[in-house]
């Protein structure tokens, strides 16, 4: 019984506790500089369902520029946190009055909070050293450890590398009001592997006129990949950020650098009214600069080993390829457009053009390539290759599978994808009269030149060498024939001498006919013997001449006649009398007869 009563009491207490609503207000700091910002947090515990926003008191000393609501529920108890980010407007003490919160017709109030606003950060430092109070809780609780001890947060390890890197950098710089961080998705990419560079400008107070200068890069192609905005809580302080993303691809292996990005900004509120300035308000600060740290990439070269011929330079994961013909049934001479589409991550613009397969029976026009980012995606791009094929004759043709390779950085290997073969059915052209013509054919005469190709194979060996070709090997015969010519020349020269011999009689006869004296007759006979018989009459006696004649076949009778003639000529030569033409003529006739006899006998 007692146990039951205790349980009931406990249950009633729990219900009562759950039904209790408590409202507390706190600020993140009680002393701050004029260019600093103040975060006011109003925590409502125990209220659930529809609720109104807390009713802030009049805050003439502050500009509220950001509001945020967070709600959590633990063990059925709901806690709602209203966070206001405010900028002080005046130097001096400022009080945040009681904040009202109405729930279920009941109004709750917080205690007022007083903060001191200094002209600059130096004043704040002095105050902090004098007082250990850093945090004031309206309900009187005091948590000095949470205020003094500053721990650097770590990003969720499950976040993608780029997000994690950005968040960690931001946590390290969480004590600044404005800062710029930059990070890449991969610091050791392969050549032409797409990576993302993100540059974030964090701020937790207002600014204006902030021109942004993007980072300079070397050995890298950089393309804008869009911008975005967001918020992030760093050390309990809500920061807003603006992010600019870029897609990078390294051009060659080695070091590649990404220089710092820069934002020049001016803090403070918009220019104050003359009244504000009178009460200690300030104008905007001078121009300040936020800069990100430079980044160095170690770009890795693509391996040569295993590189396929169909690799055109794409690096990434998850590429796809497809091919289609605008129509698969056509007439001869009708153009068919073959479209090959490659889709995948990264920048396909940098890849070289696909080689269109050679198709026998088709006239193939040069391929046109276009490359764009996929719609709605900054990291997906596609490349389209369009080729016009014109079949020259009817038949069934197959456009073979087209291969395309890329390097997969995840598995560090080359991968090849391919299209499916496409079958094209080509019917004979019905446009003979006015149809196509590739060459010399004249439309309308029933003949068309459809294209040119090499002649077919020779199906046998070539016939043997022709006779002429064989004769070219008979070089020895050249020498033989030239020798023959030489011999002929030699014999011809000999023949010229015999000609002189032949002509000796004719010559002697002519001289004898003209002879007017015995001496002339003697000289004609002597010349004949010299030319015909090679007998030198000047040095030989008559007997020797006769012997020579007999050796050449002259009969003794003829030799005797010659002897008589020679003696008479000797007499005429060595004992000449008075010139007698008649006598000379008779002697010439006698000599002519004898020479004729000798001519006949020596043939």
């Amino acid at each position: 019984m007692r146990k039951t009563i205790l349980c009931l009491l406990f249950l009633c207490f729990t219900v009562y506790a759950a039904g209790q609503v408590s409202v507390t207000a706190e600020v993140n700091k009680t002393s701050l500089a004029l260019d600093d910002e103040l975060t006011l947090s109003v925590e409502v515990k125990g209220a659930s369902g529809n609720m109104l926003m807390p009713e802030l008191p009049s805050l003439p000393a502050f500009n509220v520029y950001s509001r945020e609501v967070q709600q959590s529920s633990i063990n059925g108890k709901t806690t709602t946190l209203f966070r206001y980010i405010m900028l002080p407007r005046f130097v001096g003490k400022a009080t945040i009055g009681a904040i009202r919160f109405t729930h279920n017709g009941k109004t709750y109030k917080t205690d007022p909070i007083t903060v001191t606003v200094y002209r600059n950060a130096q004043g704040v430092q002095n105050t902090r050293s004098a007082s250990t109070t850093a945090k004031t809780v309206s309900n009187g609780n005091y948590d000095s450890a949470a205020a003094v001890k500053k721990t650097v947060e770590k990003a969720d390890p499950n976040l993608p590398p780029l997000e994690r890197n950005l968040a960690n950098q931001a946590y390290k710089r969480g004590d600044e009001n404005f800062f710029l961080v930059a990070a890449v998705s991969n610091e050791k990419p392969y050549v032409n592997q797409p990576i993302t560079l993100a540059v974030r400008f964090y701020y937790n107070r207002s600014f204006y006129d902030a021109p942004y200068q993007k980072p300079t890069v070397s050995n890298i192609f950089m393309e804008d990949a869009g911008s975005s905005e967001g918020t992030q809580s760093i050390g309990g302080v809500l920061y807003r950020y603006t992010e600019q993303r870029y897609q990078l691809t390294a051009a060659s292996a080695g070091k590649a650098t990404i220089g710092p990005a820069t934002v020049r900004y001016m803090t403070g509120s918009i220019p104050l009214s003359p009244l504000d300035r009178l009460f200690g308000g300030s104008l905007v600060s001078a121009e300040e600069t936020a800069q990100s740290a430079p980044i160095t990439l170690n770009v890795r070269a693509l391996p040569n080993e295993g590189r396929p011929k169909t690799f055109y330079g794409a690096v990434g994961t998850g590429y796809t390829i497809s091919a289609e013909a605008d129509h698969t049934q056509a007439e001869a001479g009708e153009a068919i457009t073959l479209t090959v589409t490659v889709k995948g991550p990264g920048n396909l613009k940098a890849t070289s053009d696909l080689e269109t397969p050679v198709l026998d029976g088709f006239k193939i026009y040069p391929t046109q390539a276009t490359s764009e980012n996929a719609a709605g995606s900054k990291n997906q791009s596609y490349k389209i290759f369009k080729t016009v094929l014109v079949p020259s004759a009817s038949g069934i043709y197959t456009v073979p599978s087209i291969k395309w390779s890329y390097f997969d950085p995840v598995s560090a290997s080359y991968k090849t994808i391919h299209t499916d073969p496409i079958t094209l059915t080509v019917s004979p052209s019905t446009k003979t009269e006015s149809g196509f013509d590739f060459g010399a054919g004249k439309p309308g005469n029933g003949f068309q030149t459809l294209g040119r190709d090499i002649a077919y194979l020779k199906t046998s060996y070539a016939p043997g060498l022709s006779t002429l070709a064989k004769l070219s090997g008979w070089e020895t015969l050249n020498w033989i024939m030239l020798c023959w010519l030489g011999i002929s020349v030699f014999f011809a020269s000999i023949g010229r001498k015999s000609l002189a011999q032949k002509k000796a009689y004719t010559k002697a006869r002519g001289r004898l006919k003209k002879a007017q004296s015995d001496e002339a007759v003697a000289e004609a006979v002597s010349g004949y013997l010299q030319q015909k018989l090679k007998i030198s009459t000047g040095s030989l006696p008559l007997r020797a001449i006769v012997e020579s004649l007999q050796k050449r076949g002259v009969t003794p009778a003829a030799a005797e006649s010659f002897s008589l003639l020679w003696q008479r000529l000797d007499t005429a030569r060595f004992a000449p009398g008075a010139p007698d033409a008649q006598n000379a003529k008779e002697l010439a006739q006698q000599a002519l007869d004898i020479l004729k006899l000798l001519e006949e006998e020596t043939k």
Partner: protein, 240 residues
């Protein structure tokens, strides 16, 4: 026993002939199936047995052409043409292969008929013809010298010999030119024999070049159609 030996002898004698025909048929079958590389292997093996067969060069050229190597195709067609210039298929294919590389088989300004006539005979045939006229002239000349007969015939043979010798001399001069074809897809022409010299031009396969000099692994060439002179890597060139 004698009959058996005779049969064995016959088989041994006929085997190479039958095998060769089978090899050509096999190569043709592969060619028809589009297996040009395999067909090429057979033709090249056959070429080692018959190194002066123009048809084998022609078929090798066809295989290279179908495989897309227009430069090597042109080189082999040219070799076939030199051996058998009257074959119309060879003439057609060499023209097509050279035209696909941007070259002209018949030089600009020369009538096709004249080109055909000039190359009607192969170099060996023209040499043989010159020999025949030399022999004829020697014979007639000898006769005329000795017998003083057929003087006019001798004179006519001398004139013919002179013309034929002139024709042969020009062909011999052309034959002595080291002709080659760009065989690699693209060859770079450099100002010196090395990659450290800048490239002045690039030439696509199928272009005719004449070799002027060689140094290490480089040829000095003149691109006939362009008149450009420079150095090209030997591996990019196929000598004809």
């Amino acid at each position: 026993m004698k009959r058996t030996l005779a049969a064995v002898f016959l088989v041994v004698c006929l085997f190479p002939v039958v095998w060769a025909e089978t090899a050509l048929q096999q190569a043709e079958e592969l060619y028809r199936q589009g297996k040009f590389s395999a067909a090429l292997g057979i033709y090249e093996t056959e070429l080692k047995k018959a190194p002066n067969d123009p048809y084998l060069y022609y078929n090798i050229g066809n295989c290279y052409f179908k495989m897309g190597s227009k430069g090597l195709a042109a080189a082999n067609y040219y070799r076939a043409f030199k051996l058998d210039p009257r074959d119309s298929d060879i003439r057609h294919n060499v023209t097509l292969a050279l035209e696909s590389g941007g070259e002209r088989f018949i030089p600009t300004g020369i009538p096709a008929v004249l080109h055909k006539a000039f190359f009607y005979l192969s170099y060996a045939e023209l040499k043989g013809l010159t020999f025949v006229f030399l022999w004829l002239f020697c014979t007639l000349g000898g006769i005329w010298l000795i017998k003083r007969k057929w003087g006019k015939l001798c004179l006519a043979s001398a004139v013919i010999l002179l013309l034929t010798s002139g024709w042969f001399y020009i062909r011999h001069t052309l034959e002595q030119q080291s002709l080659a074809v760009i065989a690699s897809p693209v060859a770079e022409i450099r100002s010196g024999p090395g990659t450290n010299f800048p490239a002045s031009a690039s030439v696509a396969q199928g272009h005719l070049v004449t070799l002027q000099d060689s140094k290490d692994a480089w040829y000095e060439v003149i691109v006939k159609s362009q008149g450009i002179k420079g150095w090209v890597e030997q591996s990019a060139v196929e000598k004809i």
